[in-house]
Symmetry: C2
Subunit: 738 residues, 2 copies
């Protein structure tokens, strides 16, 4: 049986798109940094990247982006003057494996140089989960054969390389560089935001013959090992790298140097290394296994009977962990995590809707941090609301460190150079209620009253106040409307009373008022202070109640069918048969303007609302809306976000096969590069949606005020589903057998 | 008396804006490449650049730009482990001089390290005018003092550095890198346009003790010299660099290596160097002096009595030479030459209107190349006309290698990120007639009938056909109009019958018809073929004649005053007194929309037309228009192009003092960074305008069909003006004494 923790490739495919996609897939990381799976020896036109949690620099149009740090991976191997690289010489054997159980990336290569030197090269790499500042590469070179069995001169150069960019945009300038007796260091700074990064390196070998040299350089400082190996001999070298930034505290260089010496010291103490060839790998790898074990004890989802699904879900759960810090609440999870340049490290509602439930149920401490990130940015959200003429707090559609709106107001077409306006930052309002909903759900599941008292209620009320002021009163009908928005379905702009937006806004108002009520009962002085601070007089609270009660929701009272927005049903339907076999989204085919005229949906919109508020609707309502909207949604080329999320509703309605199909679209989106854009980074929202699909969909978990229920729906072949979650501080193990 | 060929600075000013401005000013170059005056040892946040004539890569929005090549200048000096750089240690003395007579940049520094080592460092650098592929740095280090007079360990590292960008955008990827016995080489390629660049380096010293090492690297390969110097001792090292690209032919690396060996060989032969320490500098410097001497014999302008003007004009004439190739007609002179990233190396009408006259009169072979560049791009100009629905050839407002319109259709505000539409590529038509005018003038001055027969007439007719089809007939009045344009004054968009545009279009039609008439008389078969090829039937020719005769020119028949465009006189004037002391252009103050409503002019528009067609107008007409337009033009913060050009008309009208003032604004625009944007590169158009101001303005040169006249107007203190030009192949020396 295959190892159900491992992502492997058994041969090397030089197709550049495939290489870039696999660089994303084979990312190692620990939430402090992630490093794409580029080859140690480099490769022409590779897309090497190490992205650090919350380290941004400015970029034209898109405002700011995670700044690709100087590459720490580089290891140049030269044998008798011939350079080893996968595009040179002759590749005789190749395998690469990412073991998500331990976070270890391993590559085995058998290679022959032009002159006939045959090498075995084994490279192992991990980003330590036990020590988030630490990255290690162990590199073993064995001379299998050489011409006339002569000894071979081996030259191995380990470097930092500042000549990397996001795509081609450079973000770092060297401030200083040097070396101590055993450590090479590079201190660089982002060009605009002035974040300082210190990287230190040790590079050691067990080969007592090897000569070590430091080569200082502002651009690519390195440590070189020179040796001579007889056929059959192996050289093992270890590149140990420590990284600290000015976000971690003052004096990152001194901190990194000290930390690095401590790492070497601990390893020397724990082992019998000679002082000059301290080997860190085994010692640190043990700690790595331990740290990942601890994670998997809480986070693993077991699926028996379907190996592809089992590996897929584990890979997605691995991605969720490496995308976020355990302790830093100044930043959140980007659309692509820390694995690629797509969406430039900006935070969308992907986090709250798709990923946060995993953390809320499994790792509530991280969930709390992710919500604290939003709480801390309330001032900026208030500013956004104010500058748009509204009260309360309006969260930005795209968010980075300071909480200002970072959605570009236009994008430039990469080929035509055409400038395309982007309205999302102006019109896509529903993120504000997504965040409120996540706070409420976090509270319901964790029972974290302290968080609620200190932060949650304030956030709920502030966002509710936004909706209260944003809704327009229709005096004649005594109802409220929300006009000129984009709902989750981004193919329809400037719409009126989007069902999702209005339902979620109403939910926001309801939960805010309920939370205030709770606060008044449980902590009356806190409540009084907050009411004063937010200037929530009786009149305003009554208005909020009125809006909540009379906010217009376009739904047929008889049939229970929601209308996605007012007028949607008047649009012609699209003859989908006509487009069978298409290779592009309906929007791509019809154009941004034309698509608006049809009943065709980019991603779950009404169905997403029904999923999020699933405990408020009866099965009939869900069924009616599923039947209407599921067929007119572009599950293949629309948004990648929602296919897997559909499995929650789908399972509940008994559409298990269809749900499984949707679930797998999410589970394999990166592993099989289903959307063609994996080179830009993983689909972090999918990772979260996939977890939800299993837990809320196939297992049918629902927490209640006094416990939980499950309601399994078994995809073909699935024999067992098991996972854990925490409810109000108590661990709950679910183990379902068919 | 000061040396009137030298630009010097006597102290080091660490202000970063000043540093960047001086990097532009101290550029060395030879028309094949230019290298900004960054320091050999680097400097934090420097803007290092080497731009190669016609070597482009893609860039978002602006389409393509000259791709900043891997930096060849770097020389890192370390003494006893302490790094020498101008921001470190203690700077005791500093001078830097660019001698434009020889193209040599010299810097003297006296410096003390933290530990008390006192160094004298002399650096000399030139881009060879005798061998355009060659750049040399001679670097001398003298230990003046050391603690306890101990010998000092000196480590000197010469590198190539690929970690440079245009601003921060990287354009090159290493293809391969290595070294031979005596040469280090780097082969890189532009990321999108796939231009291949080979750079080779030798690095030698006269210090027989010095140890030399090659350090291979894909990012910053280098050669290191290690030595130990006693106090009083000097180490002289020479970094010799050769560059070839795939634009020069196949196998640029092999060509560069061969060429480099030849350079070393010639030097060894010519001198008594030991084979291991071949010194190239003296030998090549002699050739450099010779080549520049040859240039100055033709191009120098002598101004006696005004040292600032003398140095200024020579600096500008130096810039004109280093901005363009002597033999490559695939590219022309960019707005910033090869000295900075401004305007991204695009070609504007700056070349034809401002710079070309210098070449036409002084270096007609180069002028011919610059016009050939336009001729070769006729197919693209025809395509542009066709795609706009017109006949003939319409040149792009911004042009690079393939002649397509490269004016961005919008720009992104660097601070706000706002996207601002740019209309120039659509509406600024007059470049087409500027090019035609330059062809005509070239012919008039050089008498190059062969060029005219083979290329010139076709270009004139093709551009005339564009105007013929672009002009709209007003049937009632029997006149033609040109609507919806931007004239040279870019502050007024969508104007009708711009006097400059229409007069120059008429001129284009007239000269085209005259040239055709000449061709029919002198080469009837060539004429017949051309007429057929352009499909110029009698009817069309008659129409061209008709348009030429009846094109509407807004001018008051009585007063002779031109109206800049129809309706200009109806606009309110601006109360200029109100803006005294402003630090921004009127457009900057009023905004793009508001400025359109006033009679305020960015740059010479009507007056430029009167300058270009100066032999067609009487003094009275010139005076009337000068009096009207000169005062309402923003000479300080409008365009930098035209202040100096005003001196031609101004001198003729006797406004010598005002003209001198305008001339100096041009002559010193870069030397004193008058516009604040010298960091982005020199103002090449100003360089041409300054030459024209002296020759056509103060000296009053006018060529006639059978000779020339001068009509000097002497600025205060000027005692003598002398220069040369070529008329129909004959050299003419002008030497005017007050």
């Amino acid at each position: 049986m295959d190892n159900l923790w491992q992502i492997s490739e058994e041969s090397f495919d030089p197709n550049l798109k495939h290489i870039h996609s696999q660089e994303t897939v084979f990312t190692v990381g620990n939430g402090y940094f992630c490093t794409r799976g580029t080859f140690d020896e480099g490769y022409p036109h590779e897309s090497a990247a190490t992205l650090l949690f919350g380290v941004f620099d400015n970029v034209p149009i898109a405002k700011e982006e995670l700044a690709n740090a100087p590459d720490w991976v580089g290891l140049k191997l030269v044998v008798n003057g011939e350079r080893f690289r996968l595009d040179k010489g002759k590749l005789l054997a190749y395998t690469r494996t990412l073991d998500v159980q331990t976070g270890l990336l391993t590559r085995h290569v058998l290679w022959e140089s032009t002159s006939g030197i045959r090498l075995q090269v084994v490279s192992e790499r991990f980003a330590s989960l036990a020590d988030e500042h630490l990255g290690i590469i162990r590199y073993r070179v064995t001379i299998e054969e050489s011409p006339n069995q002569q000894p071979v001169e081996v030259n191995l150069r380990a470097s930092f390389n500042i000549a990397v960019g996001n795509y081609d945009l450079m973000h770092w300038a060297t401030q200083d560089q040097g070396h101590t007796q055993n450590l090479l260091w590079l201190r660089s700074e982002t060009k605009h935001t002035k974040v300082s990064l210190a990287q230190t390196m040790s590079f050691n070998t067990d080969d007592a013959q090897a000569k070590k040299e430091f080569a200082d350089s502002d651009v690519a400082p390195s440590i070189r090992l020179n040796s001579t190996l007889a056929p059959g001999a192996t050289l093992t070298a270890e590149k140990v790298v420590v990284m600290y930034t000015s976000r971690d505290g003052d004096e990152p260089l001194q901190t990194a140097l000290n930390h690095h010496q401590k790492i070497l010291g601990s390893a020397a103490e724990a082992t019998t290394n000679s002082p000059h060839h301290v080997f860190v790998y085994n010692y640190q790898y043990d700690r790595q296994i331990e740290a990942w074990q601890k994670y998997w004890q809480q986070a693993d989802v077991i699926i028996e009977g379907d190996d592809t699904a089992q590996i897929g879900i584990r890979y997605n759960i691995y991605q969720l962990r490496i995308s976020t810090s355990e302790h830093d609440s100044r930043y959140s999870i980007a659309a692509k995590g820390l694995t690629g340049f797509g969406y430039r490290g900006h935070i969308f509602h992907d986090t709250e809707i798709f990923m946060l439930p995993f953390f809320t149920y499994v790792l509530p401490d991280i969930a709390r941090n992710l919500l604290l990130y939003r709480y801390k940015l309330l001032p900026a959200a208030r500013q956004k609301a104010r500058s748009n003429g509204y009260a309360g707090a309006q969260y930005p559609w795209e968010s980075t460190l300071n909480g200002e709106e970072t959605t570009p107001s236009s994008i430039v077409h990469p080929e035509t150079g055409e400038v395309i306006p982007v309205l999302n930052g102006f019109l896509e309002l529903h993120i504000t209620s997504s965040i409120a909903h996540a706070v409420w759900e976090y509270w319901q599941v964790t029972g974290d009253d302290k968080f609620m008292r200190e932060y949650g209620v304030e956030l709920l009320l502030s966002t509710a106040m936004f909706w209260d002021s944003r809704a327009e009163k229709d005096e004649q009908e005594h109802q409220y409307e929300i006009k000129n928005v984009i709902g989750p379905d981004e193919w329809h702009e400037h719409v009126i009373n989007n069902a999702h937006t209005n339902m979620m806004a109403r939910n926001n108002l309801q939960t805010a008022l309920a939370a205030l009520h709770w606060l008044e009962n449980t902590a009356p002085t806190v409540a009084t202070t907050l009411i004063e601070q937010l200037d929530l007089n009786k009149q305003r609270l009554a208005h909020m109640q009125d809006v909540q009660e009379h906010l217009k929701i376009p739904q047929d009272k008889e049939t229970k069918l929601f209308e996605q927005f007012e007028g949607f049903f008047k649009l012609p339907t699209l003859d989908l048969e006509k487009y069978k076999g298409r290779k592009d989204s309906y929007q791509g085919i019809l154009g941004v303007e034309e698509i608006q005229k049809y009943q065709i949906v980019k991603q779950a919109d009404t169905l997403m609302m029904l999923t999020m508020l699933r405990q408020e609707f009866d099965l009939h309502t869900k069924q009616v809306n599923w039947d209407y909207y599921f067929p007119i949604t572009d599950h293949d080329y629309g948004s990648s976000l929602t296919p897997a999320l559909h499995a929650i509703l789908g399972s509940e309605l008994g559409h298990t096969e269809e749900s499984y199909h949707m679930f797998m679209k999410g589970a394999l989106v990166d592993l099989e590069n289903l959307r063609g854009n994996t080179p830009e980074g993983i689909h972090a929202a999918c990772a979260g949606a996939v977890w939800q699909a299993v837990v809320f969909g196939f297992a049918g978990l629902r927490v209640t005020s006094d416990g939980y229920t499950t309601n399994p729906h078994w995809p073909a072949n699935w024999q067992r589903v098991a996972f854990q979650f925490k409810q109000k501080g108590t661990s709950v193990s679910i183990d379902l057998h068919r």
